[in-house]
Symmetry: none
DNA sequence: ACATAAACTTAACAATTCGATAACTGGATA
DNA sequence: TATCCAGTTATCGAATTGTTAAGTTTATGT
């Protein structure tokens, strides 16, 4: 199972995290300050690091920066813990390469969910890092934005391409209209969800009718 | 739409929350003390609970702890309301498994934003957690919205799928018609309870007769 | 900066599927 | 045996999606 390092000076939170993460089946190590944490990271290469921002000796951001500068540590995902007031450093943290933030106080469920989500993201990114998606007769080339069906090249618009790519990235999975709107159109989009239908229609016309299946009352899915 | 339970003894805040959440399209129920709140939670399984910390009979943390210890309630997100002076033991609160905290006085916009954020978080993170339910020869894939019996794929409608999923999520547990109506059809639904029978009938036809058992005078259960 | 084309959104209407209800039947229970 | 509860079926209306076209925005090249 995945190995997680928790770098946190407050023993209560440290134990709370350790207890709950181990209950989820992760292997957990802890360090109580930045110096020890960094040593652990450099010698043990954990699979994920949870870093409190305010810790003695070396703070979270510094550790993050050091990790990102070393080739063998650069890929390790990092979750930063911040107290409620410290949210100013968010931008700085992003620059330092943290992958997620959790503001204290947090629920254990939340942090576990985020750990899992992060692992999932890393896994799927590593998997889908290939620029070409092949699904039967369909080929989706992300790099040069090209789609071919059999031998024929298919011209898609930007939205159509995004929609197809998202659906085809997980064949079989049902995507609700809301989910599609949120991910392609953005969180703040306040529009008709019928818009999705129209784009689906266009995709079906340009490709084949039965590539995208309608799940009535739920959404759409790319056939497996 | 999602069903929210507000447990709060102050009638002003209770109504304020109810009014504003309903305006946002949520279905809202209220309880004025911990005992009634807990009953409502256990019998109705709301989709989210807003809990005042200081309420008569059973306080918020106790309810939270009870919820987390019961399998069918453990996943329900909880927002805790605290008065400004109340210094909650943070770690205790975290262990109890609340998902978010709001300090009184709060603005309605804030609480609505948090409710929505929490739903979004839970949806995107938790739903991908347990995607497949296996019950003997029956397989229920939530992500793909697919049901197979043995090797055969079974086409279910939305309502049928929801019904089967709920029943199969706790084999052996008897669900009353009222519970099923409130949980799947919504708090507001005022209809014939024969409706449930018809959908059960359809499920039995599409699957096997003896998967869903009738408990005369009570309701239905999925066989263990 | 402008004209033009392309892409996107919205609206309206058609087609289809689904679900609620009523009414009747059958069986269990007291 | 009477009564109550669940099973069953067909039908109608409602909800969802498909489809087309017109209107609006955005992008592109000159």
């Amino acid at each position: 199972m995945a190995r997680i390092l928790v770098v946190e000076d407050d023993p209560n939170i440290r134990e709370l995290l350790q207890y709950n993460l181990e209950k989820e089946g992760f292997e957990v190590r802890t360090a109580e300050d930045g110096q020890k944490g960094l040593e652990e990271i450099e010698t043990k290469w954990p699979d994920l690091v949870i870093l409190d921002l305010m810790i003695p000796y070396r703070d979270g951001l510094e550790i993050c920066r050091i990790m990102r500068s070393k080739r063998e540590l650069a890929h390790i995902p990092v979750i930063i813990l911040t107290a409620k007031g410290e949210e100013i450093d968010r931008v700085l943290g992003l620059e330092m390469g943290a992958d997620d933030y959790v503001t204290k106080p947090f629920s254990t469920r939340e942090i576990i969910a985020r750990v899992k989500a992060l692992f999932r993201r890393v896994q799927t990114i590593e998997k889908t890092d290939e620029e070409v998606l092949i699904r039967g007769r369909l080929t989706i080339n992300i790099e040069n934005y090209e789609v071919t069906l059999g031998e024929k090249k298919v011209d898609l618009t930007h939205k159509e391409f995004q929609l197809l790519y998202l659906l085809a990235s997980r064949p079989g999975k049902v995507f609700t209209r809301d989910f599609l709107l949120e991910h392609i159109w953005g969180y703040e989009y306040l529009g008709d969800s019928r818009t999705v239908d129209v784009h689906i229609r266009h995709l079906r016309q340009k490709l084949e009718d039965d590539l995208i299946e309608t799940i009535r009352g739920v959404g759409y899915k790319f056939i497996e």
